[in-house]
Symmetry: C3
């Protein structure tokens, strides 16, 4: 679906920018910035494909995707200090990317005849593992495991998409519904600072 592919290209660009900025915060050099940017943009699909045994990986079959992520990282390195005003735009694109990645990941899982729950999980992994690998490379506890509803948006989008397809809804309608609902969910979560409960494990010893 062409809309989805366009959103995909915008999303890997936006995610690469987020990775590049995180790399800059760690005083990385230009190579490190490009690598972290690329891992952030393409790491989710890579993790999904390695776990599913789905070869060749997206960016190995389509090396031109690397020019998007490397290009976005390079541009970010030089203009990042002027990006602050784009913060709102960035959050929108990032939310759109999250739901697009999720739908694409579900499609890959379904295309391999995986169990529906695995297809949903393939979508969630595609949505969140880029940011997760970025944070591991930057020596942080992954933000996606801690903060406001992000992974939950991916889970909601994936379940909705796979259930709609299972009910016999056309792929186009299911895609548009999942993208729209998931994106709306993300916007509401951002606007009203929705959070999952978190827990403190302080004082619990002996389970390492």
């Amino acid at each position: 679906m062409s809309l989805l592919h366009t959103i995909f290209l915008i999303a890997i660009t936006a995610e690469a920018m987020s990775g590049a900025i995180m790399g800059m915060r760690r005083q990385m050099d230009l190579f490190g910035i490009c690598l972290v940017g690329t891992v952030t943009g393409l790491g989710g699909g890579t993790a999904r494909d390695v776990l599913l045994g789905h070869y060749p990986l997206t960016w190995i079959g389509n090396p031109e995707y690397l020019t998007f992520t490397v290009g976005a990282s390079l541009v970010t390195a030089f203009v990042a200090r002027h990006l602050y005003r784009l913060r709102q735009v960035f959050l929108l694109v990032d939310g759109l990317g999250l739901v697009a990645f999720t739908v694409i990941g579900c499609d890959v899982g379904l295309g391999m005849d995986a169990h529906p729950s695995i297809a949903v999980l393939a979508g969630v992994i595609t949505g969140i593992f880029g940011g997760l690998l970025r944070d591991v490379l930057c020596n942080e506890v992954p933000l996606v495991l801690r903060r406001e509803l992000y992974a939950t948006v991916a889970l909601f989008t994936g379940v909705l998409y796979v259930v709609l397809l299972g009910l016999g809804v056309s792929e186009t309608a299911a895609t548009l519904t999942a993208l729209g609902s998931g994106f709306l969910f993300r916007l509401l979560a951002l606007r009203y600072r929705w959070q999952l409960p978190s827990f403190t494990g302080e004082g619990i010893r002996g389970f390492d």
Copy 2:
């Protein structure tokens, strides 16, 4: 072997609980806790299968395992503060899981006609990589690389199992012997705080 499978299910549950508690200590939200729990319970077998090219992964072929790890993580999140009294039980189950994971991993390696040393390594990876990935996600130097005999128990169990099979011992006898001896070794290591020597690298410069 049915006994081994039962221990496997108990072990992924126990490991998921250990991961969930570590996630709580990092102030993760419910999603993060479930993901770290699942990675801890199923990450060892996943690492082994990805390295061996052994597809589909265990939990992709058997998605019901995910309900064990996610369920255990959710339960842990809500009752963790009452778990302290279970500390001793937990250590027993964790030790049993370690040796069961190891034997299962060796079996996978042997089933792929790998060299015996690789079969042992497949067992060790199955035993320890769940905890290792948990610690990487939680931004810690993996405990399993630092503390009292844990990986060594996996190595001992794996070598014993593969050697017994190589000597023509029946699979049942080899499994029971390896499980029993490995578990006993682990208990003794815990009881008497056995440790491998560790080394300090302070003051050694220039080898990065």
Copy 3:
């Protein structure tokens, strides 16, 4: 090519030593030191093969490589405090290993009929991911993403090698030229402390 294979064996030994020393700095025990050493020596090729779907992995097909990395780690653990005087030798061997890993990685990529850019990337991944995984296990922001020209040397070596082969140069000539030029580049980068520009992302908020 026999020269390349000899350099490969020397290089995995040297890289394993660097990993072992990093493990010692983290107060790891003997097992941890051997595992980090092995990951450092063989992790680059492993990452490449998993990403390319190139099975069996090098060390699974050739378990004897593990004796090199484990042996080097064990020796390092016991003699590390006397290694300081070998610092210069180590840097030479490490640089030679970097370019040899890169050429070998390019060969694997080309052997799988990957796009030339992917072949170069396969070389770079082979060259740098051992050190990168070492640093992730040791809870560090990977040095290779921050410091003086290292990844850039791999990139230069890989591009040169793949372009020479593309121009019809014989494999032996291309290998020797790439090894020699890359090694010289690395020596000059060390001698004159060449660096890529790095950037500070301080004060840029909202792009996580």
